[in-house]
Symmetry: C2
Subunit: 190 residues, 2 copies
Amino acid sequence: MIDLAKGDRTRARILDEAVDLASVQGLGGLTIGPLAERLGLSKSGLFAHFQSKEALQVETLDRAADLFRTDVTEPLRAIPDRALRLRAFFERWIAWLDDSRLSGGCPILAAAIEFDDVPGPVHDAAAKHFGELQRLIVKFARAAQPDGDPEALAAAVTGLAMSHLVRVRLLADRKARAVTLRAFEALLVT
Amino acid sequence: MIDLAKGDRTRARILDEAVDLASVQGLGGLTIGPLAERLGLSKSGLFAHFQSKEALQVETLDRAADLFRTDVTEPLRAIPDRALRLRAFFERWIAWLDDSRLSGGCPILAAAIEFDDVPGPVHDAAAKHFGELQRLIVKFARAAQPDGDPEALAAAVTGLAMSHLVRVRLLADRKARAVTLRAFEALLVT
DNA sequence: TGTTAAAACGAACGATCGTGCTATTTTATG
DNA sequence: CATAAAATAGCACGATCGTTCGTTTTAACA
C-alpha cells in the first residue's frame, strides 16, 4: 500500500474480494455487478481493470493460488527435515480448508471440478494450478516415503483433502477433522 | 414409453438431457433455454413441467443419483461375499467416472462442491445424496475390514475417487487410472 | 369419433448479465 | 499550482436469464 499506484491498489482490492466471493459462489457464479457493489465501485470502473470477465476469473484463480502458497506452502520451507513436510503440509491444508480467511471453500479445488469439462482460459488456469499442486505433493510424498509409491500417495492425499472439504462444508460433519487425520495417518503406515 | 402418460415421458427425457448437460456445465450452469433447444422444446413448454428452476435442479440431481445407483450400486447385490463389495464398488465407480453415459463428470460430486456454501434446496439435495453415498461406503468399508477404521477408510476412498475425477478430466493424466488403482490397493493393506 | 383435459407453444415481462462509450473525477508530475 | 494522465462513474446496448399468460396443438377417453 506504499508505492503502489492507485490503480494497482484497487486492482488488488478487487481480486481479494473476488477470491472471497468465488470461494462461496464458485468462479462461474462470480459476477461483476455484486462484486462491484461489495467494493463500493461502479460496474464499469471495476471492469476497466480487466479486459474481460474471463480475465477476471483467471486472475482471481491466480490470486487464490498466491494465498494458498502464502498460508500453506511457503511456511514449510522452515522445516529442515524434508521427510516431515508431507504431514505438516497436509495439516496446514486441512486447517486452511477448515477456516481460512475466506468465507467459502478452496477456490482452486472448486474450479478444478467446475471447469474440468469447460474448455477455455479458466480451464487452463485451473489445470495449471492444480497440476503444480499435485506435483508439489508428489515431491513431498517422495521425501516422506522414498521407497513408496509417491504418485499413489499424492493422489490419496489430494483426495483426502477434497473429501474433507465436502464433509466439513456440505455435510457439516463435526467428526470430519478427526476422521480425516486418522485416515491420513493410515496412509503413511503402509 | 409403454403406459407412461405423454407428460411423464417428456419429463423423463428432459431430466436425462438435464443430467448430461449438468455433467458438463454444472448444476449452476444448467440453463433452461439451451436445454429446451437440445430437446426441440420451447422454453415455456419445458418450464411447465417444473415449478421453478431450483426444482429442476433438484430433480436433475435426483435423476443423476438414480443413474449412479443403477450403474454402480445395484449390481453389487450380486456379490455374495460382502467383504469383496468395497473393491467392486470402487472399480465400478472409477469406471463410471472414466466413461459413463454422460458427457461430463459426476454431477453429484460436482454439486457437492458447487453448492457446499450456497444454502437452499439444491444444497440440501446434494447433502442428502452425498450423505447417503458416504454412509454406503462406510458400510462397505466395515464389511471389508471389520477391525479397521471404516469411517477413515470411507473418507479415503471417497477422496480417491474425487482426486481421480480431477486427474482424468481436468489434467487428462493418462496414468491416472493406474495410479488410482494402486492407491486404492494401498488403502486396503493397512 | 367427438369431447375434454393435458401438453406444448409464442410472445412478452422485468431483471441481470458482460461490455462498450463518453464524461468526470482523482491522482501523479513538472 | 497547473497540467497531463490515470482512474472511476454514468449510461446505454444487446443478449440472456427465469417466469407468466393466453392460445393452440395434441393426446386420452367416453
